[in-house]
């Protein structure tokens, strides 16, 4: 990220040129635009609350724009790739096509800003577009926002606009397209752009995702935020992806190396002209040749691990009733997947069914049986799906084919699906496992729940409503079962998987399937808890309900698509852009189909971003710095200080652990820095392992609960409460209006899903009981507490949102009451640091990028303090910030302190001139609620230092326990030194470290994060200590 700036710019230029080559699409787009707005209006039934979004954007100061631009640029790209603008379809398709096939991803038509990033181009374009077409269009879009779906649509629209803009490739960088898509695109942009930006963007995205539902109303703000001046151009490294399509063709596609999975996925969907894409996903083979799903919210590079950019496009969620799919093309793709499933043996079926399905395929591909056609038999073999009973099967297929005379391809596909969906293994994702007695079994995850097979026999089944909790630990996978009528206690069933990764994979698949099929909206990832154990992964895409709602808004003529047989002729050309173009062209121009496109989490994210403009502010300066620094070796140090204060502890002794239960009961501190959360989430589990943190003995007990050892295995565990989530979240979250709404929705959903509301109540009660039980049984306790706690933290950050408004020039210092003494330079450019992000509680750890910009020391202080008055946050800050500065290097120090929501208003933003520094220190401090504690030295109870090392990180943990008044306070300071070349992903490492810290000490809060970056090898001085 850091070193290659120069080259990057060059690279960018090239892509732009490419874009320039394809101006035509833009022209098309313009005409199409006018219709689009109309469509949108029609679609949107609800009144638009958010009519104003664009205006704010326009008004926003240039500074913001600049920052935004950076973000936006990337965002737009994403948006483009993602959303096929219904109206602009042609355009999109064209544009898409070009990047995919012809040349590296992003070719920009004009090189207005030579070095400018795509984002810039996009921005510029948006201006033009806006001026031309967008003004009329946008208002309708806004209207749509009222409805969740609508919002998505709107985003899509914007993205489309963005695309148009891009295509136009106007030189004006100043334009402020208010497109929300930008945010989505942000991901792309982030990836493309400098690491810090990326991190921020990612965070934003995550936050957006989480808040999507909640924040939909807020989107207008997001627009304003999004608008930002051009970012620095960054050169993009492009990776060549090969995506195996369902029809057996390979789709070559270039994406930026740092691109998230989403980007590639959207490109593929655009290539396919697929709108109902929520059922699909990209998979890859890991080193163990296991099929893994590409997480759309994470960088591709970090997932695939090997340099083999080979993917396959597959159905991820098999719709139980394919007839409810809106478009034939979607059904067709599902058919292709099922054919593959059958031929590979994943979907077993009888001879007769096999032949029947083959005959429908034959009908769909070749039409009516031609008795005179002698060559038929040759073809037939293609439709027996590799059946071993070749001749016999072919004869049967032909015989059945004759009976389908007159059936259209779409009808044949529908019949195919009607039969295939009844197969018992339809949509069942099987995983090898062993039961508690070591017997080989298979775990089958499907839309209705978890199936247990022994050999081919179904020996047990756990419907989603029966499952209270899904978790994994190391290579064990657990489900907690709701007690039956006759049983008093819930039981936990454990399975042993071949590896930790396999266990996590099953867990993720379960989480995704449950969310997709059972919830109306994705659950927010576990939030704020710093010390929480385990993966925070949550499914962030659309649920089936959302997808259906969105697809109900699809209003385009059925797209033309080629079936495999007809494609044979042209197969060799598949890679060529021309083909794609033709496909797109063949379809009538898109009518507005906002809903589908809008899906993406990014859209939702956008809304969040709107709320939380501050992020943007932080980003720019760092990025620049980073780029400069890039070439030099960087050390990153992460210091995590955890302070725990517990109300009078009967046992002052270090063994405070006992109180853990109590603590957990208390709402988690709201103070937790959002940044940390984001970082944590973003971190990949695996990475975490690398960093070893040694938990304090005291803390251990808490961690123990989670069943985590103090060791760094943080991601080895994770829990997911399928049903409980909704209820609990509702109860807890209500404080925030937005969340309430969302939750209510969820409730409704669940009510629908659940047969009786009473059941829900029971569930809640049960949950409560469980929680109590857990408290009693510390061992078992792990995550339920987390659950409870989670909602609150999320709430807290939001109130801070007002801060966002402060978006100002890149360097903004958010200082709640206390201003960091140590700050040498008050630049708080780091997007990561913004409190806003935290509330979002992004599920996906992907974006270590935040930190990337800041290779250096990151000190996280986590405190658990009983919420009190804000006033005393300051104490922590000043001390921590000390940085040893290499003589030559300039040092930036950034301090951000979070205060409670109430305090937020007090936050002062400072703009600091951006200084290029080789050494940067960023401090994030959470406001401490305890007023009294600060001044008091307290009595030192215990002090301990633990050091551990891993490949490129050295972790030093200082644990101090002090007794102040009636409170015992445990403070853990972790200093993590990350040493390495620019090759090392510092952001990721940082994020991991933070995440680990959180996971290890769920009860504690991070009060301070100090990031110290040194380009030179000299070690950082110290993280501050409190």
């Amino acid at each position: 990220m850091t070193t290659e700036v120069g080259s990057e710019t060059e690279v960018k230029k090239e892509p732009e040129k490419e874009k320039g080559e394809e101006p035509a699409p833009t022209a098309d787009a313009q005409p199409t635009d006018s219709p689009a707005p109309e469509q949108e209006n029609q679609e949107v039934a609800a009144p638009s609350e958010n009519t104003t979004p664009e205006a704010p954007e326009a008004t926003t100061p240039e500074k913001k724009k600049e920052e935004e631009k950076e973000k936006e640029g990337p965002v737009k790209e994403k948006g483009i790739s993602r959303f096929l603008p219904p109206w602009l379809k042609k355009q999109k398709s064209q544009t898409q096509v070009t990047p995919k096939e012809a040349t590296p991803l992003e070719t920009t038509p004009t090189d207005g800003g030579v070095a400018t990033v795509e984002g810039e181009e996009e921005k510029a374009e948006p201006e033009q577009e806006v001026g031309e077409t967008s003004p009329p269009v946008e208002p309708p879009v806004e209207n749509q926002e009222v409805n969740g779906v609508e919002v998505e649509e709107r985003e899509e629209v914007k993205s489309e606009e963005g695309e148009k803009e891009e295509s136009h490739s106007t030189g004006s960088a100043d334009t402020q397209p208010a497109k929300e898509e930008k945010e989505e695109c942000v991901e792309k942009g982030a990836e493309e752009s400098k690491p810090p930006e990326e991190g921020e963007q990612e965070k934003e995205e995550e936050a957006k995702e989480e808040k999507k539902e909640e924040d939909k109303s807020c989107k207008p703000e997001g627009h304003s935020i999004l608008k930002s001046p051009l970012k620095l151009t960054k050169k993009m490294k492009v990776a060549m992806c090969h995506v195996m399509m369902l029809d057996g063709t390979k789709f070559p596609c270039e994406v930026e190396k740092r691109a998230k999975g989403q980007i590639l996925f959207f490109k593929v969907c655009e290539h396919l002209n697929l709108l109902e894409k929520d059922y699909f996903g990209l998979s890859y083979r890991d080193n163990a040749d296991q099929k893994c799903w590409l997480d759309p919210t994470k960088e591709i590079k970090r997932q695939i691990r090997n340099n083999n950019w080979q993917f396959s496009f597959n159905v991820k969620f098999y719709p139980p009733d394919p007839s409810q799919l809106t478009e034939d093309i979607t059904r067709y793709l599902l058919c292709l997947q099922l054919r593959e499933d059958i031929s590979s043996g994943r979907l077993p079926c009888s001879f007769v069914t096999h032949a029947l399905l083959g005959s429908y395929s034959l009908q769909a591909e070749l039409g009516d049986h031609d008795s005179d056609e002698s060559r038929l038999p040759d073809y037939v073999s293609d439709f027996t799906f590799g059946s071993a009973q070749g001749k016999e099967m072919e004869e049967k297929v032909v015989e059945l084919h004759k009976s389908h005379r007159g059936m259209t391809p779409a009808q044949a596909d529908a019949q195919f699906l009607e039969n295939a969906k009844k197969l018992s293994m339809y949509g069942v994702d099987l995983h090898h496992a062993k039961d508690s007695e070591g017997v080989d079994i298979m775990l089958g995850v499907c839309s209705s729940g978890l199936l247990i097979y022994k050999d081919r026999l179904r020996i047990n089944r756990f419907a989603w409503p029966k499952i209270l909790k899904i978790s994994y630990k190391r290579n064990n996978f657990y489900i907690k079962i709701r007690p039956g009528e006759m049983e008093q206690f819930e039981s936990t069933v454990g399975f042993k998987l071949p590896s930790h990764r396999a266990a996590k994979r099953v867990w993720k698949v379960c989480v995704e399937h449950h969310t997709f099929f059972r919830l109306t909206a994705p659950e927010q990832p576990p939030k704020a808890k710093f010390l929480t154990l385990g993966s925070k992964f949550r499914y962030s895409g659309r649920t089936q309900a959302q997808s259906r709602q969105a697809s109900s808004l699809i209003d385009r003529p059925a797209p033309y698509f080629q079936r495999t047989s007809s494609k044979r002729i042209s197969r060799s050309l598949d890679g060529a852009p021309v083909i794609n173009v033709t496909d797109a062209d063949s379809g009538p121009p898109f009518s507005s189909t906002p809903g589908e496109n809008g899906h993406d989490p990014a859209l939702e994210l956008n809304s969040d971003s709107k709320k939380t403009p501050p992020r943007t502010d932080l980003t720019l300066p760092d990025l620049k710095d980073v780029s400069k620094q890039a070439e030099v070796e960087v050390e990153e140090t992460v210091v995590i200080q955890e302070v725990r204060k517990t109300p009078k502890l009967p046992c002052p002794t270090p063994e405070l652990v006992v109180t853990a239960a109590v603590e957990t009961e208390q709402p988690p501190q709201e103070v937790e820095p959002k940044v940390n959360q984001e970082a944590i989430q973003e971190v990949e589990p695996e990475v975490n392992q690398e960093v070893n943190e040694e938990a304090n003995p005291e803390v251990k007990e808490e961690t123990r609960r989670a069943s985590m050892s103090s060791e760094s295995e943080s991601e080895e565990e994770a829990e997911y409460h399928p049903q409980v989530e909704v209820n609990t979240s509702v109860n807890q979250i209500r404080e925030e209006p937005e969340e309430e709404e969302r939750e209510e929705k969820e409730d409704q959903e669940e009510l629908k899903q659940e047969e009786d509301q009473e059941e829900l109540k029971q569930e809640e009660q049960e949950e409560d009981q469980e929680e109590e039980k857990q408290e009693e049984q510390k061992e078992e306790e792990e995550k339920k507490e987390e659950h409870e706690v989670e909602p609150e933290p999320s709430e807290l950050p939001e109130p801070q949102l007002p801060i966002v408004e402060t978006d100002q020039s890149p360097a903004v210092v958010l200082a709640s009451e206390a201003v960091p003494v140590a700050e040498e330079e008050g630049n708080t450019d780091d997007p990561m640091m913004t409190p806003e992000e935290a509330p979002n509680g992004h599920v996906h750890p992907q974006d270590p990028a935040h930190s990337e910009g800041l290779p250096g020391l990151v000190a996280l202080e986590e405190e658990e303090v009983e919420p009190r008055v804000n006033g005393e946050t300051e104490r922590h800050q000043p001390q921590v910030i000390c940085c040893s500065e290499p003589p030559v290097v300039k040092t930036e120090m950034v301090t951000i302190s979070d205060t409670f929501a109430a305090q937020k208003t007090e936050i002062a933003t400072k703009e600091v001139p951006i200084v290029h520094t080789e050494t940067k220190t960023i401090t994030y401090e959470a406001a401490q609620l305890d007023g009294g504690a600060d001044g008091e030295p307290g009595v030192l109870m215990t002090a301990q230092t633990i050091t551990s090392e891993s490949l490129c990180t050295t972790t030093t943990t200082h644990i101090t326990k002090t007794l102040k008044g009636g409170l015992s306070e445990t403070r853990i300071e972790k200093r993590i030194v990350i040493t390495g070349d620019s090759d090392i992903d510092h952001d990721q490492a940082l994020a991991q470290a933070i995440k680990e810290a959180k996971e290890q000490h769920p009860d504690m809060s991070v009060t301070r994060v100090v990031v110290h970056k040194e380009t030179e090898l000299e070690e950082e001085g110290e993280g501050g200590e409190n």
């Binding site: 007769v352 069914t353 050999d455 020996i459």
Partner: protein
Amino acid sequence: MAGMCPYGRFTHAVVRGIPETFGRAWEGGESGVDLAKAQRQFGVLTGALRQKMGLQLIVIPPDPELPESWRVEDLAVVQGDTALITRPFRQQRRSEAEAVRRVVSELNLSVVEMGAEEGGSAGATLEGSDVLFTGREFFVGISSHTNHRGAEVLADTFKDFAVSTVPVCGGSRLKNICSMGGPDTIIISNSNGAKKTLHMMEQLTDHHYEVLTVPEDAAANCVYVRGPSKQDFLLHRPPDECPDSAPAFQKLTDYTLLPTACSEASKLGASLSSFCLLINRKPHF
């Protein structure tokens, strides 16, 4: 899928006559069965199948050498156009399958064998009276006569369907405590063991079945056939054999109830469904 259609559509019934050796080989020793009465009851049953339910009846002549051969249900599992010839638990019964194999072959069913005595499916035992096919899925009762290996073979044979195994308590057979009473209706005994089995079935299925509970185990075994004009026929034990369950059957409105005595066979652990193998030879598609 090809074979998926509501339960109850049958065109043929395969039965085998009662030999004079009836009851002799039964494990329990002297059973005190009345041969003549058994044959009378058999006649009533087959008459109902043919005349009331309208099934084509294929009667295999009795073989005195095979005293239990009348229990043809055990010998094959037929679904769609596939017949799985089973391997009964007791060695002496395995030769009974020959006649059944011949019949299903003549019906143009594709015949699947459980495999050689040795080899892949060695040790697999399966009897049709432990198999409940609901039209949507199979439940295989793991009993003294049917084991997991047998169930696996069944699962391999009928790949379209989920095959779930359920425990059968009390040493009886799955179909002794439950049977189909309609396309989506399971008739099941109220005994504790049956409740356990039902609970497991409910947990294992993706589908929701209506459940008709009867107080007596014996009453839970019925034969349901859906006639060509959509009438519902149910062979069930008469009130004099299962007095407590009579009211339960009255809940089946619009059914043609056919009380059929089965007292002698039940002394041998068999029941109504044991006598017949129901087959549907109408193409479904």
